[in-house]
Protein backbone atom coordinates (compact mmCIF):
# COMPACT_ATOMS: atom_id res chain seq x y z
CA UNK A 1 0.00 0.00 0.00
CA UNK A 2 1.26 3.51 -0.81
CA UNK A 3 2.16 5.94 1.94
CA UNK A 4 -0.28 8.66 2.99
CA UNK A 5 0.99 11.60 5.02
CA UNK A 6 -0.08 14.64 6.94
CA UNK A 7 2.33 17.47 7.81
CA UNK A 8 1.57 19.85 10.67
CA UNK A 9 3.33 22.87 12.13
CA UNK A 10 5.34 22.12 15.23
CA UNK A 11 3.60 23.98 18.06
CA UNK A 12 1.65 23.54 21.28
CA UNK A 13 -1.67 23.09 19.50
CA UNK A 14 -0.47 20.19 17.37
CA UNK A 15 1.37 18.28 20.14
CA UNK A 16 -1.74 16.47 21.45
CA UNK A 17 -2.99 15.93 17.89
CA UNK A 18 0.21 14.15 16.92
CA UNK A 19 -0.03 12.10 20.09
CA UNK A 20 -3.60 11.14 19.19
CA UNK A 21 -2.62 10.18 15.64
CA UNK A 22 0.16 7.94 16.94
CA UNK A 23 -2.27 6.26 19.34
CA UNK A 24 -4.90 5.63 16.67
CA UNK A 25 -2.63 4.58 13.80
CA UNK A 26 -0.25 1.71 14.52
CA UNK A 27 1.56 2.19 11.19
CA UNK A 28 2.16 5.93 11.72
CA UNK A 29 5.76 7.11 11.73
CA UNK A 30 6.81 10.60 12.77
CA UNK A 31 9.37 12.47 10.70
CA UNK A 32 10.44 15.66 12.50
CA UNK A 33 11.65 18.42 10.21
CA UNK A 34 12.53 22.05 10.97
CA UNK A 35 9.36 23.65 12.36
CA UNK A 36 7.26 20.85 10.85
CA UNK A 37 6.15 17.33 11.76
CA UNK A 38 5.36 14.92 8.94
CA UNK A 39 3.41 11.79 9.85
CA UNK A 40 3.59 8.95 7.36
CA UNK A 41 1.28 5.95 7.48
CA UNK A 42 0.70 2.88 5.42
CA UNK A 43 -2.26 3.42 3.09
CA UNK A 44 -4.55 5.05 5.67
CA UNK A 45 -4.36 7.60 8.47
CA UNK A 46 -7.16 8.65 10.84
CA UNK A 47 -7.37 11.72 13.07
CA UNK A 48 -10.02 11.06 15.75
CA UNK A 49 -11.73 13.86 17.66
CA UNK A 50 -12.47 11.70 20.70
CA UNK A 51 -8.82 10.75 21.19
CA UNK A 52 -7.74 14.40 21.02
CA UNK A 53 -10.43 15.36 23.54
CA UNK A 54 -9.35 12.57 25.86
CA UNK A 55 -5.76 13.81 25.78
CA UNK A 56 -6.46 17.53 26.14
CA UNK A 57 -9.53 17.35 28.35
CA UNK A 58 -11.44 19.89 26.29
CA UNK A 59 -13.87 19.93 23.36
CA UNK A 60 -12.16 19.88 20.00
CA UNK A 61 -13.54 20.76 16.57
CA UNK A 62 -11.58 18.94 13.85
CA UNK A 63 -11.91 21.98 11.61
CA UNK A 64 -9.45 23.73 13.95
CA UNK A 65 -6.82 21.63 12.25
CA UNK A 66 -7.15 23.97 9.22
CA UNK A 67 -4.95 26.47 11.06
CA UNK A 68 -1.98 24.15 11.53
CA UNK A 69 -1.98 21.94 8.46
CA UNK A 70 0.93 22.21 6.03
CA UNK A 71 0.43 19.49 3.48
CA UNK A 72 -0.91 16.00 3.00
CA UNK A 73 -1.29 13.22 0.49
CA UNK A 74 -4.10 10.80 -0.23
CA UNK A 75 -7.85 11.09 -0.67
CA UNK A 76 -9.54 12.85 2.21
CA UNK A 77 -12.83 12.51 4.05
CA UNK A 78 -13.88 14.60 7.02
CA UNK A 79 -16.86 14.20 9.36
CA UNK A 80 -17.58 15.62 12.83
CA UNK A 81 -15.68 12.73 14.37
CA UNK A 82 -12.80 11.89 12.04
CA UNK A 83 -10.50 13.02 9.30
CA UNK A 84 -9.36 10.12 7.14
CA UNK A 85 -6.60 10.09 4.54
CA UNK A 86 -6.48 7.04 2.28
CA UNK A 87 -5.40 5.56 -1.02
CA UNK A 88 -7.76 3.20 -2.78
CA UNK A 89 -5.00 1.45 -4.70
Amino acid sequence: MSTVFLALQTNEETRPIIEAILQDNPSAVVDEQPAMVKINADGRLVVRRQTIEDITGRDYDLQELQVNMITMSGNLDQTDDEITLFWKA
Partner: protein, 517 residues
Protein backbone atom coordinates in the same frame (compact mmCIF):
# COMPACT_ATOMS: atom_id res chain seq x y z
CA UNK B 1 -45.66 24.63 30.70
CA UNK B 2 -43.94 23.17 27.69
CA UNK B 3 -40.17 23.37 27.60
CA UNK B 4 -38.64 24.40 24.29
CA UNK B 5 -36.10 21.76 23.41
CA UNK B 6 -32.94 23.25 21.95
CA UNK B 7 -32.60 22.10 18.36
CA UNK B 8 -29.61 19.88 17.87
CA UNK B 9 -26.74 21.53 15.99
CA UNK B 10 -26.46 20.33 12.40
CA UNK B 11 -23.69 17.85 11.66
CA UNK B 12 -20.85 18.72 9.31
CA UNK B 13 -22.39 16.96 6.31
CA UNK B 14 -25.79 18.58 6.73
CA UNK B 15 -24.26 22.00 7.35
CA UNK B 16 -22.23 21.66 4.17
CA UNK B 17 -25.34 20.68 2.18
CA UNK B 18 -27.34 23.61 3.54
CA UNK B 19 -24.56 26.14 2.95
CA UNK B 20 -23.76 25.03 -0.60
CA UNK B 21 -26.65 23.24 -2.38
CA UNK B 22 -29.17 25.11 -0.25
CA UNK B 23 -27.89 28.46 -1.51
CA UNK B 24 -28.17 27.62 -5.21
CA UNK B 25 -31.16 28.12 -7.46
CA UNK B 26 -32.24 27.31 -11.00
CA UNK B 27 -32.57 30.38 -13.22
CA UNK B 28 -36.07 30.93 -14.60
CA UNK B 29 -35.82 33.83 -17.06
CA UNK B 30 -32.20 33.44 -18.30
CA UNK B 31 -30.80 30.48 -20.23
CA UNK B 32 -28.13 28.40 -18.46
CA UNK B 33 -25.82 28.67 -21.49
CA UNK B 34 -26.00 32.46 -21.36
CA UNK B 35 -25.08 32.52 -17.67
CA UNK B 36 -22.31 29.93 -18.03
CA UNK B 37 -20.92 30.51 -21.52
CA UNK B 38 -17.51 28.78 -21.16
CA UNK B 39 -18.63 25.47 -19.80
CA UNK B 40 -18.97 23.32 -22.93
CA UNK B 41 -16.31 24.37 -25.46
CA UNK B 42 -13.47 22.38 -23.91
CA UNK B 43 -15.39 19.15 -24.56
CA UNK B 44 -15.80 18.18 -20.90
CA UNK B 45 -19.16 16.58 -20.14
CA UNK B 46 -20.77 17.03 -16.71
CA UNK B 47 -24.09 15.33 -15.98
CA UNK B 48 -24.59 16.00 -12.27
CA UNK B 49 -22.89 18.95 -10.58
CA UNK B 50 -24.15 17.87 -7.17
CA UNK B 51 -21.84 14.88 -7.24
CA UNK B 52 -19.02 17.31 -6.47
CA UNK B 53 -18.29 17.52 -2.77
CA UNK B 54 -15.55 19.23 -0.74
CA UNK B 55 -14.19 16.45 1.49
CA UNK B 56 -13.28 19.01 4.20
CA UNK B 57 -16.91 20.19 4.00
CA UNK B 58 -15.80 23.71 4.81
CA UNK B 59 -18.51 26.37 4.69
CA UNK B 60 -18.02 30.13 4.35
CA UNK B 61 -18.80 30.91 8.01
CA UNK B 62 -16.16 28.46 9.27
CA UNK B 63 -13.79 29.68 6.55
CA UNK B 64 -13.81 33.28 7.83
CA UNK B 65 -13.32 32.13 11.40
CA UNK B 66 -10.20 30.09 10.71
CA UNK B 67 -8.71 32.51 8.19
CA UNK B 68 -9.00 35.34 10.72
CA UNK B 69 -7.13 33.26 13.25
CA UNK B 70 -4.36 32.53 10.72
CA UNK B 71 -3.99 36.25 10.00
CA UNK B 72 -3.78 37.18 13.69
CA UNK B 73 -1.03 34.65 14.23
CA UNK B 74 0.91 35.73 11.18
CA UNK B 75 0.89 39.43 11.86
CA UNK B 76 1.92 39.11 15.50
CA UNK B 77 4.96 37.14 14.35
CA UNK B 78 5.78 39.73 11.69
CA UNK B 79 5.63 42.50 14.31
CA UNK B 80 7.98 40.57 16.57
CA UNK B 81 10.29 39.97 13.62
CA UNK B 82 10.54 43.67 12.81
CA UNK B 83 10.85 44.78 16.42
CA UNK B 84 13.71 42.35 16.89
CA UNK B 85 15.71 43.23 13.72
CA UNK B 86 14.90 39.75 12.47
CA UNK B 87 16.61 40.40 9.14
CA UNK B 88 20.01 40.12 10.86
CA UNK B 89 19.27 36.59 12.06
CA UNK B 90 19.45 34.90 8.66
CA UNK B 91 22.39 32.54 8.08
CA UNK B 92 24.22 34.85 5.73
CA UNK B 93 23.30 37.61 3.31
CA UNK B 94 23.32 35.27 0.31
CA UNK B 95 20.09 33.83 1.66
CA UNK B 96 18.28 37.09 0.86
CA UNK B 97 18.52 36.30 -2.83
CA UNK B 98 16.09 33.46 -2.24
CA UNK B 99 13.63 36.01 -0.87
CA UNK B 100 14.16 38.26 -3.92
CA UNK B 101 13.58 35.36 -6.29
CA UNK B 102 10.43 34.37 -4.42
CA UNK B 103 8.97 37.87 -4.23
CA UNK B 104 9.50 38.74 -7.88
CA UNK B 105 8.87 35.27 -9.28
CA UNK B 106 6.16 33.72 -7.12
CA UNK B 107 4.21 36.38 -5.19
CA UNK B 108 2.75 37.99 -8.34
CA UNK B 109 1.51 34.52 -9.33
CA UNK B 110 -0.49 34.37 -6.11
CA UNK B 111 -2.36 37.42 -7.31
CA UNK B 112 -2.97 35.88 -10.74
CA UNK B 113 -4.17 32.72 -9.01
CA UNK B 114 -6.67 34.87 -7.11
CA UNK B 115 -8.02 36.16 -10.42
CA UNK B 116 -7.98 32.72 -11.99
CA UNK B 117 -10.04 31.07 -9.25
CA UNK B 118 -12.49 33.96 -9.14
CA UNK B 119 -12.99 33.52 -12.88
CA UNK B 120 -13.25 29.72 -12.81
CA UNK B 121 -15.63 29.80 -9.83
CA UNK B 122 -17.89 32.21 -11.69
CA UNK B 123 -18.06 29.85 -14.65
CA UNK B 124 -19.04 26.63 -12.87
CA UNK B 125 -22.78 25.93 -12.70
CA UNK B 126 -22.30 23.74 -9.59
CA UNK B 127 -22.47 25.37 -6.14
CA UNK B 128 -19.91 22.96 -4.61
CA UNK B 129 -16.96 23.88 -6.85
CA UNK B 130 -18.12 27.49 -6.92
CA UNK B 131 -17.84 27.85 -3.14
CA UNK B 132 -14.48 26.05 -3.10
CA UNK B 133 -13.16 28.32 -5.88
CA UNK B 134 -14.36 31.39 -3.99
CA UNK B 135 -12.42 30.29 -0.91
CA UNK B 136 -9.30 29.57 -2.93
CA UNK B 137 -9.58 32.89 -4.71
CA UNK B 138 -9.65 34.66 -1.33
CA UNK B 139 -6.77 32.52 -0.06
CA UNK B 140 -4.65 33.50 -3.03
CA UNK B 141 -5.09 37.23 -2.61
CA UNK B 142 -4.24 36.75 1.07
CA UNK B 143 -1.03 34.97 0.02
CA UNK B 144 -0.06 37.80 -2.31
CA UNK B 145 -0.69 40.42 0.36
CA UNK B 146 0.96 38.63 3.26
CA UNK B 147 4.04 37.87 1.18
CA UNK B 148 4.39 41.49 0.16
CA UNK B 149 3.96 42.59 3.78
CA UNK B 150 6.48 40.07 5.10
CA UNK B 151 9.11 40.85 2.48
CA UNK B 152 8.66 44.61 2.78
CA UNK B 153 10.68 44.36 6.00
CA UNK B 154 13.65 43.11 3.96
CA UNK B 155 13.13 45.72 1.29
CA UNK B 156 13.98 48.42 3.86
CA UNK B 157 17.55 47.08 4.04
CA UNK B 158 18.42 45.12 0.91
CA UNK B 159 18.47 45.69 -2.84
CA UNK B 160 16.57 44.25 -5.78
CA UNK B 161 13.07 44.08 -4.26
CA UNK B 162 11.96 47.69 -4.60
CA UNK B 163 9.82 47.24 -7.70
CA UNK B 164 9.12 43.53 -7.82
CA UNK B 165 5.89 43.75 -9.76
CA UNK B 166 7.38 45.95 -12.44
CA UNK B 167 10.20 43.41 -12.66
CA UNK B 168 7.79 40.48 -12.86
CA UNK B 169 6.23 41.89 -16.02
CA UNK B 170 9.55 42.65 -17.73
CA UNK B 171 12.71 40.91 -16.50
CA UNK B 172 13.78 38.14 -18.90
CA UNK B 173 13.74 35.12 -16.56
CA UNK B 174 10.57 36.21 -14.77
CA UNK B 175 8.67 35.60 -17.99
CA UNK B 176 9.07 31.89 -17.14
CA UNK B 177 6.71 31.91 -14.12
CA UNK B 178 4.62 34.74 -15.55
CA UNK B 179 3.90 33.02 -18.86
CA UNK B 180 3.14 29.77 -17.05
CA UNK B 181 0.28 31.34 -15.13
CA UNK B 182 -0.87 33.46 -18.07
CA UNK B 183 -1.13 30.26 -20.06
CA UNK B 184 -3.32 28.74 -17.34
CA UNK B 185 -5.74 31.65 -16.83
CA UNK B 186 -6.28 32.05 -20.58
CA UNK B 187 -7.37 28.41 -20.85
CA UNK B 188 -10.97 27.33 -20.25
CA UNK B 189 -12.27 26.85 -16.68
CA UNK B 190 -11.79 23.06 -16.68
CA UNK B 191 -8.25 23.24 -18.01
CA UNK B 192 -7.49 25.95 -15.46
CA UNK B 193 -8.64 23.67 -12.65
CA UNK B 194 -6.54 20.79 -13.94
CA UNK B 195 -3.49 22.99 -14.56
CA UNK B 196 -3.40 24.93 -11.31
CA UNK B 197 -5.76 23.02 -9.01
CA UNK B 198 -4.47 19.57 -9.80
CA UNK B 199 -1.09 19.60 -11.56
CA UNK B 200 0.38 22.57 -9.75
CA UNK B 201 -1.29 22.39 -6.33
CA UNK B 202 -1.56 18.66 -5.91
CA UNK B 203 1.34 17.24 -7.88
CA UNK B 204 3.96 19.99 -7.61
CA UNK B 205 3.22 22.37 -4.73
CA UNK B 206 5.13 20.28 -2.18
CA UNK B 207 8.21 20.83 -4.30
CA UNK B 208 7.77 24.57 -4.24
CA UNK B 209 6.55 25.45 -0.76
CA UNK B 210 7.89 22.75 1.47
CA UNK B 211 11.55 23.32 0.40
CA UNK B 212 11.05 27.06 0.45
CA UNK B 213 9.43 27.16 3.87
CA UNK B 214 11.71 24.63 5.52
CA UNK B 215 14.61 26.45 3.78
CA UNK B 216 13.47 29.64 5.47
CA UNK B 217 13.25 27.82 8.82
CA UNK B 218 16.74 26.36 8.38
CA UNK B 219 18.19 29.74 7.47
CA UNK B 220 16.75 31.77 10.32
CA UNK B 221 14.19 33.61 8.23
CA UNK B 222 11.25 33.84 10.61
CA UNK B 223 9.26 36.19 8.36
CA UNK B 224 9.29 33.94 5.30
CA UNK B 225 8.78 30.84 7.40
CA UNK B 226 5.68 32.33 8.98
CA UNK B 227 4.01 33.57 5.83
CA UNK B 228 5.00 30.32 4.19
CA UNK B 229 3.28 28.26 6.85
CA UNK B 230 0.28 30.54 6.87
CA UNK B 231 -0.11 30.15 3.10
CA UNK B 232 0.62 26.46 3.32
CA UNK B 233 -2.24 25.90 5.78
CA UNK B 234 -4.55 26.88 2.90
CA UNK B 235 -2.60 24.66 0.57
CA UNK B 236 -3.86 21.43 2.11
CA UNK B 237 -7.36 22.56 1.17
CA UNK B 238 -6.23 23.53 -2.36
CA UNK B 239 -4.67 20.14 -2.88
CA UNK B 240 -7.87 18.47 -1.80
CA UNK B 241 -9.84 20.66 -4.19
CA UNK B 242 -7.44 19.76 -7.02
CA UNK B 243 -7.79 16.05 -6.43
CA UNK B 244 -11.58 16.21 -6.02
CA UNK B 245 -11.97 18.18 -9.23
CA UNK B 246 -10.03 15.57 -11.18
CA UNK B 247 -11.98 12.67 -9.70
CA UNK B 248 -15.25 14.49 -10.28
CA UNK B 249 -14.53 15.21 -13.95
CA UNK B 250 -13.30 11.68 -14.59
CA UNK B 251 -16.32 10.07 -12.92
CA UNK B 252 -18.80 12.18 -14.88
CA UNK B 253 -18.11 10.81 -18.36
CA UNK B 254 -15.57 8.43 -19.92
CA UNK B 255 -15.12 10.91 -22.82
CA UNK B 256 -13.44 13.26 -20.33
CA UNK B 257 -10.53 10.90 -19.68
CA UNK B 258 -8.35 11.58 -22.77
CA UNK B 259 -8.90 15.35 -22.48
CA UNK B 260 -7.85 15.34 -18.85
CA UNK B 261 -4.85 13.08 -19.56
CA UNK B 262 -3.59 15.55 -22.18
CA UNK B 263 -3.92 18.41 -19.69
CA UNK B 264 -2.11 16.47 -16.97
CA UNK B 265 0.74 15.67 -19.38
CA UNK B 266 0.99 19.29 -20.48
CA UNK B 267 0.77 20.91 -17.05
CA UNK B 268 3.04 18.53 -15.23
CA UNK B 269 5.76 19.39 -17.74
CA UNK B 270 4.99 23.13 -17.72
CA UNK B 271 5.04 23.17 -13.90
CA UNK B 272 8.22 21.14 -13.73
CA UNK B 273 10.02 23.58 -16.03
CA UNK B 274 9.02 26.47 -13.72
CA UNK B 275 10.42 24.50 -10.79
CA UNK B 276 13.86 24.80 -12.38
CA UNK B 277 14.10 28.00 -10.34
CA UNK B 278 13.31 26.10 -7.14
CA UNK B 279 15.86 23.40 -7.98
CA UNK B 280 18.68 25.94 -8.14
CA UNK B 281 17.42 27.68 -5.03
CA UNK B 282 17.62 24.44 -3.04
CA UNK B 283 21.03 23.36 -4.31
CA UNK B 284 22.77 26.74 -4.49
CA UNK B 285 20.96 29.66 -2.88
CA UNK B 286 20.18 28.40 0.63
CA UNK B 287 23.38 28.84 2.68
CA UNK B 288 22.12 26.04 4.92
CA UNK B 289 20.68 23.33 2.71
CA UNK B 290 17.55 21.34 3.59
CA UNK B 291 17.69 18.55 1.05
CA UNK B 292 18.87 18.41 -2.54
CA UNK B 293 16.54 19.03 -5.46
CA UNK B 294 17.05 15.42 -6.49
CA UNK B 295 16.03 14.10 -3.07
CA UNK B 296 12.97 16.29 -2.94
CA UNK B 297 11.94 15.19 -6.45
CA UNK B 298 12.30 11.56 -5.38
CA UNK B 299 10.21 11.97 -2.23
CA UNK B 300 7.51 14.32 -3.45
CA UNK B 301 7.15 13.34 -7.07
CA UNK B 302 8.43 9.83 -7.61
CA UNK B 303 7.14 8.40 -4.33
CA UNK B 304 4.14 10.56 -3.57
CA UNK B 305 3.13 11.29 -7.18
CA UNK B 306 3.63 7.59 -7.89
CA UNK B 307 1.04 6.75 -5.21
CA UNK B 308 -1.33 9.33 -6.66
CA UNK B 309 -1.17 8.03 -10.22
CA UNK B 310 -1.54 4.47 -9.00
CA UNK B 311 -4.75 5.60 -7.28
CA UNK B 312 -5.98 7.36 -10.44
CA UNK B 313 -5.27 4.31 -12.61
CA UNK B 314 -8.81 3.05 -11.92
CA UNK B 315 -10.07 5.91 -14.11
CA UNK B 316 -7.61 5.09 -16.90
CA UNK B 317 -5.25 7.96 -16.02
CA UNK B 318 -1.54 7.27 -16.43
CA UNK B 319 1.62 8.84 -15.01
CA UNK B 320 2.59 11.61 -17.48
CA UNK B 321 5.20 10.47 -19.97
CA UNK B 322 7.44 13.43 -19.22
CA UNK B 323 8.29 11.80 -15.86
CA UNK B 324 10.85 9.67 -17.74
CA UNK B 325 12.73 12.68 -19.04
CA UNK B 326 12.50 14.46 -15.69
CA UNK B 327 14.13 11.45 -14.04
CA UNK B 328 17.03 11.77 -16.50
CA UNK B 329 17.35 15.50 -15.80
CA UNK B 330 17.36 15.33 -12.00
CA UNK B 331 21.16 15.00 -11.82
CA UNK B 332 21.62 18.08 -13.98
CA UNK B 333 18.75 20.54 -13.69
CA UNK B 334 19.92 22.74 -10.81
CA UNK B 335 23.54 22.88 -12.03
CA UNK B 336 22.56 23.91 -15.55
CA UNK B 337 20.22 26.57 -14.16
CA UNK B 338 22.74 28.02 -11.69
CA UNK B 339 25.42 28.16 -14.40
CA UNK B 340 23.02 30.21 -16.50
CA UNK B 341 22.21 32.65 -13.72
CA UNK B 342 25.91 32.95 -12.88
CA UNK B 343 26.46 33.94 -16.52
CA UNK B 344 23.66 36.47 -16.59
CA UNK B 345 24.22 38.06 -13.17
CA UNK B 346 24.49 41.49 -14.81
CA UNK B 347 20.88 41.31 -16.02
CA UNK B 348 19.08 39.89 -12.96
CA UNK B 349 17.51 41.41 -9.83
CA UNK B 350 19.50 39.18 -7.49
CA UNK B 351 23.12 38.19 -6.97
CA UNK B 352 24.86 34.95 -7.85
CA UNK B 353 28.18 33.45 -6.74
CA UNK B 354 30.33 30.36 -7.01
CA UNK B 355 29.86 27.71 -4.31
CA UNK B 356 32.70 27.49 -1.77
CA UNK B 357 34.72 24.32 -1.09
CA UNK B 358 32.29 22.95 1.52
CA UNK B 359 29.35 23.54 -0.75
CA UNK B 360 31.14 21.86 -3.66
CA UNK B 361 31.70 18.84 -1.41
CA UNK B 362 27.99 18.78 -0.52
CA UNK B 363 27.09 18.92 -4.21
CA UNK B 364 29.53 16.08 -5.03
CA UNK B 365 27.97 13.95 -2.30
CA UNK B 366 24.39 14.66 -3.40
CA UNK B 367 25.14 14.30 -7.11
CA UNK B 368 27.78 11.57 -7.36
CA UNK B 369 26.87 10.79 -10.99
CA UNK B 370 27.23 14.24 -12.40
CA UNK B 371 28.77 16.97 -10.27
CA UNK B 372 32.50 16.19 -10.19
CA UNK B 373 32.59 15.11 -13.79
CA UNK B 374 30.57 17.86 -15.46
CA UNK B 375 30.00 20.87 -13.24
CA UNK B 376 32.86 21.16 -10.74
CA UNK B 377 35.51 21.76 -13.45
CA UNK B 378 33.39 24.52 -14.94
CA UNK B 379 32.96 26.20 -11.55
CA UNK B 380 36.64 25.90 -10.73
CA UNK B 381 37.49 27.60 -13.99
CA UNK B 382 35.04 30.43 -13.35
CA UNK B 383 36.35 30.83 -9.81
CA UNK B 384 39.93 31.05 -11.09
CA UNK B 385 38.89 33.63 -13.64
CA UNK B 386 37.07 35.68 -11.00
CA UNK B 387 40.15 35.60 -8.75
CA UNK B 388 42.16 37.07 -11.64
CA UNK B 389 39.61 39.85 -12.00
CA UNK B 390 37.78 38.29 -14.96
CA UNK B 391 34.44 37.44 -13.34
CA UNK B 392 32.46 36.23 -16.37
CA UNK B 393 29.34 38.19 -17.28
CA UNK B 394 27.68 36.94 -20.42
CA UNK B 395 26.39 39.80 -22.55
CA UNK B 396 25.06 37.74 -25.47
CA UNK B 397 21.35 37.13 -25.15
CA UNK B 398 20.28 33.47 -25.25
CA UNK B 399 17.78 31.75 -27.53
CA UNK B 400 14.57 30.96 -25.63
CA UNK B 401 12.16 28.05 -25.77
CA UNK B 402 8.87 29.27 -27.28
CA UNK B 403 6.79 27.29 -24.76
CA UNK B 404 8.49 27.50 -21.35
CA UNK B 405 10.52 30.65 -22.23
CA UNK B 406 13.62 29.25 -20.50
CA UNK B 407 16.91 29.80 -22.38
CA UNK B 408 17.95 26.72 -24.35
CA UNK B 409 20.24 25.46 -21.60
CA UNK B 410 19.02 21.92 -21.11
CA UNK B 411 20.88 18.92 -22.44
CA UNK B 412 19.67 15.96 -24.47
CA UNK B 413 17.93 13.31 -22.39
CA UNK B 414 20.68 10.79 -21.71
CA UNK B 415 23.56 12.95 -23.04
CA UNK B 416 24.48 15.76 -20.66
CA UNK B 417 27.26 16.99 -22.95
CA UNK B 418 24.97 18.04 -25.78
CA UNK B 419 22.47 20.93 -25.72
CA UNK B 420 18.96 19.88 -26.73
CA UNK B 421 17.41 21.88 -29.60
CA UNK B 422 14.08 21.27 -31.27
CA UNK B 423 12.37 23.43 -33.87
CA UNK B 424 9.07 23.77 -35.72
CA UNK B 425 8.19 25.74 -38.87
CA UNK B 426 4.79 27.33 -38.55
CA UNK B 427 3.25 29.77 -41.05
CA UNK B 428 6.63 30.80 -42.41
CA UNK B 429 8.36 31.33 -39.06
CA UNK B 430 10.75 29.12 -37.17
CA UNK B 431 10.14 28.38 -33.47
CA UNK B 432 12.65 26.89 -31.04
CA UNK B 433 12.13 24.47 -28.16
CA UNK B 434 14.12 23.15 -25.23
CA UNK B 435 12.63 19.67 -25.38
CA UNK B 436 10.26 17.28 -27.13
CA UNK B 437 7.63 18.06 -24.49
CA UNK B 438 7.67 21.83 -25.01
CA UNK B 439 7.62 21.20 -28.77
CA UNK B 440 4.59 18.90 -28.50
CA UNK B 441 2.71 21.45 -26.36
CA UNK B 442 3.32 24.10 -29.03
CA UNK B 443 2.25 21.80 -31.86
CA UNK B 444 -1.08 21.12 -30.20
CA UNK B 445 -1.92 24.84 -29.76
CA UNK B 446 0.35 26.84 -32.07
CA UNK B 447 -2.01 29.81 -32.32
CA UNK B 448 -1.71 30.33 -28.59
CA UNK B 449 2.05 30.04 -28.27
CA UNK B 450 3.04 32.12 -31.32
CA UNK B 451 1.69 35.08 -29.33
CA UNK B 452 4.18 34.60 -26.48
CA UNK B 453 6.02 37.75 -25.32
CA UNK B 454 9.59 36.50 -25.59
CA UNK B 455 11.92 38.76 -23.56
CA UNK B 456 14.96 38.23 -25.78
CA UNK B 457 13.04 38.91 -29.01
CA UNK B 458 11.54 41.99 -27.41
CA UNK B 459 14.96 43.33 -26.42
CA UNK B 460 16.29 42.77 -29.96
CA UNK B 461 13.25 44.50 -31.40
CA UNK B 462 14.03 47.54 -29.26
CA UNK B 463 10.92 47.21 -27.06
CA UNK B 464 12.75 46.99 -23.73
CA UNK B 465 14.45 50.37 -23.49
CA UNK B 466 13.07 53.39 -21.61
CA UNK B 467 10.96 55.68 -23.75
CA UNK B 468 12.95 58.07 -25.88
CA UNK B 469 16.06 55.83 -26.02
CA UNK B 470 18.01 56.12 -29.27
CA UNK B 471 19.85 52.84 -29.84
CA UNK B 472 21.66 54.28 -32.88
CA UNK B 473 23.85 56.74 -30.96
CA UNK B 474 27.52 55.95 -30.80
CA UNK B 475 28.58 53.89 -27.79
CA UNK B 476 25.00 52.83 -27.03
CA UNK B 477 25.02 50.28 -24.21
CA UNK B 478 21.98 48.02 -24.66
CA UNK B 479 22.36 46.28 -21.29
CA UNK B 480 22.38 49.60 -19.42
CA UNK B 481 19.22 50.66 -21.24
CA UNK B 482 17.49 47.34 -20.52
CA UNK B 483 18.34 47.61 -16.80
CA UNK B 484 16.81 51.09 -16.73
CA UNK B 485 13.68 49.67 -18.34
CA UNK B 486 13.62 46.98 -15.63
CA UNK B 487 14.04 49.70 -12.92
CA UNK B 488 17.24 47.99 -11.77
CA UNK B 489 20.36 49.89 -10.77
CA UNK B 490 23.59 48.60 -12.25
CA UNK B 491 26.19 47.74 -9.61
CA UNK B 492 23.59 47.68 -6.85
CA UNK B 493 20.80 45.27 -7.71
CA UNK B 494 22.81 43.00 -10.02
CA UNK B 495 26.31 41.41 -10.36
CA UNK B 496 28.19 38.98 -8.14
CA UNK B 497 27.33 38.70 -4.45
CA UNK B 498 30.99 39.27 -3.59
CA UNK B 499 30.92 42.88 -4.75
CA UNK B 500 27.40 43.63 -3.51
CA UNK B 501 26.18 46.32 -1.15
CA UNK B 502 24.02 43.63 0.53
CA UNK B 503 27.11 41.69 1.57
CA UNK B 504 28.88 44.76 2.89
CA UNK B 505 25.87 46.14 4.76
CA UNK B 506 24.86 42.85 6.31
CA UNK B 507 28.38 42.30 7.69
CA UNK B 508 28.47 45.82 9.11
CA UNK B 509 24.99 45.69 10.66
CA UNK B 510 25.47 42.26 12.14
CA UNK B 511 28.74 43.52 13.63
CA UNK B 512 26.90 46.43 15.22
CA UNK B 513 24.27 44.08 16.60
CA UNK B 514 26.78 41.87 18.40
CA UNK B 515 29.46 44.37 19.53
CA UNK B 516 29.50 47.53 21.67
CA UNK B 517 30.57 50.17 19.22
Amino acid sequence: MDMTVAKKKLGLKERYAVMTRGLDWTPSYQKMEDIYPYITYEGIKIHDWDKWEDPFRLTMDAYWKYQAEKERKLYSVLDAFTQNNGHLNVTDARYLNTVKLFLSGISPLEYVAHRGFAHAGRQFPGPGPRVACLMQSLDEIRHAQTQVHAVSNYNKYYNGMHDFHHAHDRVWFLSVPKSFFDDAITAGPFEFMVSIGFSFEYVLTNLLFVPFVSGAAYNGDMAAMTFGFSAQSDEARHMTLGLEVIKFILEQDPDNVPIVQRWIDKWTWRGYRVLTLVAMMMDYMLPKRTMSWKESWEIYFEENGGALFKDLARYGIKMPQCAEQIALEKDHLSHQAWSTFYNYAAAANFHTWMPDEDEMAWLSAKYPNSFDKLYRPRYEFWREQAAKGNRFYNKTLPMLCQTCQIPMIFTEPGDPTKICYREVDYKGDKYHFCSDHCKAIFEHEPEKYVQAWMPVHQIYQGNCFPEGTDPTVEGFDPLAAVLKYYHLEHGRDNLDFDVSEDKKNFAEWRGQATKNI
